[in-house]
């Protein structure tokens, strides 16, 4: 089946090893990616949406029309892109007045939003269109013994009316996807807590990040597993910066799900870019015998 990947700004420029991990791993599961030229920032659901919501709808709609031209659904690999593209896609499908307003703007560049495709996070498509068996079948080296503390982030699940992935209070999708590659998912008290990135004040996200990392440590998890580059930014480099501020170290390695999938499929550390992380992960790789 064919899908159009939307990698967004963070992965394209700052964390290209996540993009590489997605491309390599989903191909093995059987997902065919069709690239589209001309995508811009989704645009981001925090700052750009706060600036002007009509501009936010319109820029997102422009991106959606590029995928509509090819007639395949979009897969997102960042929770921020998911938040914007899924929400705008549904809002324009449901609200004809809004669609007309946006289309009158898009007309200036010869485009029109039709509402003919869907947008889903890649993990949802893997679960629903391919299934855990297909993921499991690609595993060459199960990550046995690796305890992964699950971090959902907000927009894989919420708003649930838009995302339609799982119960937002009792989700299981990421736990099941980790089990499919042989890892042990750890669901801790702060598994569903936000990373705090959108907050203007520093104090609130700092406390959230510290709380999440401390919870993970208290469960003796080996690493944190997540599905969003913005959450990753907050917990990887963010944990180093916060550690300096608090004069303590957390030492919780943070790994993007598709990197773990790549390891399980037999890829080495460099192929999935694990050597680029700020919080070192080398000791974990001994565990999973890479």
């Amino acid at each position: 089946m064919k899908y159009i990947p939307f990698f967004g700004c963070m992965m394209t420029t700052k964390y290209p090893w996540f993009e590489a991990s997605v491309r390599k791993t989903v191909a093995r599961v059987g997902m065919e990616l069709v690239d589209v030229d001309g995508f811009t920032c989704c645009p981001d659901p925090i700052y750009f949406q706060a600036r002007n919501k009509m501009d936010w709808y319109t820029v997102a709609a422009r991106n959606l029309t590029l995928a509509e031209d090819l007639g395949h659904d979009i897969i997102t690999t960042c929770s921020g892109c998911t938040a914007t593209l899924s929400e705008v896609n549904l809002a324009l499908k449901e609200d004809n007045d809004l669609k007309d307003q946006v289309n009158s703007r898009l007309k200036k560049i010869g485009r029109e939003f039709k509402g003919s495709i869907n947008v889903w996070h890649a993990v949802k498509v893997l679960r629903d269109d391919f299934g855990m068996d297909r993921i499991e079948a690609t595993v060459k080296r199960p990550l046995e013994g690796l305890k992964v503390a699950v971090h959902y982030g907000c927009h894989l699940l919420k708003p649930s009316r838009v995302m339609r992935v799982d119960d937002p209070d009792h989700p299981t999708i990421l736990e099941n996807m980790l089990r499919a590659i042989g890892a042990t998912p750890i669901h801790h008290e702060k598994t569903l807590l936000c990373c705090g990135r959108a907050c203007m004040s520093e104090d609130i996200p700092n406390q959230m990040v510290a709380d999440i990392l401390d919870n993970i440590k208290s469960h003796q998890a080996d690493c944190m597993g997540l599905i969003c580059p913005t959450c990753f930014d907050e917990f990887d480099v963010g944990q180093i910066i916060l550690g300096r501020k608090l004069k303590r170290s957390f030492d919780v390695p943070v790994i993007y799900y598709f990197q773990l999938l790549g390891l399980a499929q037999g890829m080495d550390m460099k192929e999935v870019g694990l050597h680029m992380h700020k919080v070192k992960v080398d000791h974990l790789l001994d565990m999973v015998a890479v």
Binding site: C9, M10, T12, T13, K14, P16, W17, E19, A20, R23, D37, G38, T40, C41, P43, D44, P45, I46, Y47, F48, Q49, A50, R51, N52, K53, M54, D55, Y57, T58, V59, R62, A83, L98, R105, L106, K108, I109, C154, H155, K158, P159, S160, P168, D169, L193, C194, G196, R197, A198, C199, M200, S201, D203, I204, P205, Q207, M208, D211, G273
Partner: protein, 159 residues
Amino acid sequence: MHTQEKHKIDFSFREKLNGIAEGYRHNFCYQCGACVADCPAGMYSDHFNPRLILLKALLGFEDELIRPDSEIWDCTNCYTCAERCPQDVRPVDVIIALKNLCVRTGNAPELILKTSDPVLTSGITTKITSVVDRRRQEMGLAPVGTYPVDELKKITEGD
């Protein structure tokens, strides 16, 4: 509300908020407080309370809400309040409408424009440096393409 100062109730603020996308939703709020308990910004601070933000909007306490240091900027955009709300107010969407009103009236924190400007001037939020394509090449990826900034200019000049 937590202060002893007197505030003037101004229902005309509702009209202002109604004019912003999704802003009209504040009218449905009956102050039940379902949005409060699981709000992460509320959990980790003593000043953030989505119910009170909605109440201030309903009563028209514009001077408290529409300013660069307003509590609205501490919303984490997590949408938990939208899950909990029985009235489909989606407090987070009202907060975003309040933020739009701040930007429109020149009352937004500098960071908002600084972070969102690059979308319109370069097509993306992050910076494209010489390191980016080198790293992409190392990972076997194609270089970053060009971004159609001229198109974005045309479709965002509507206001």
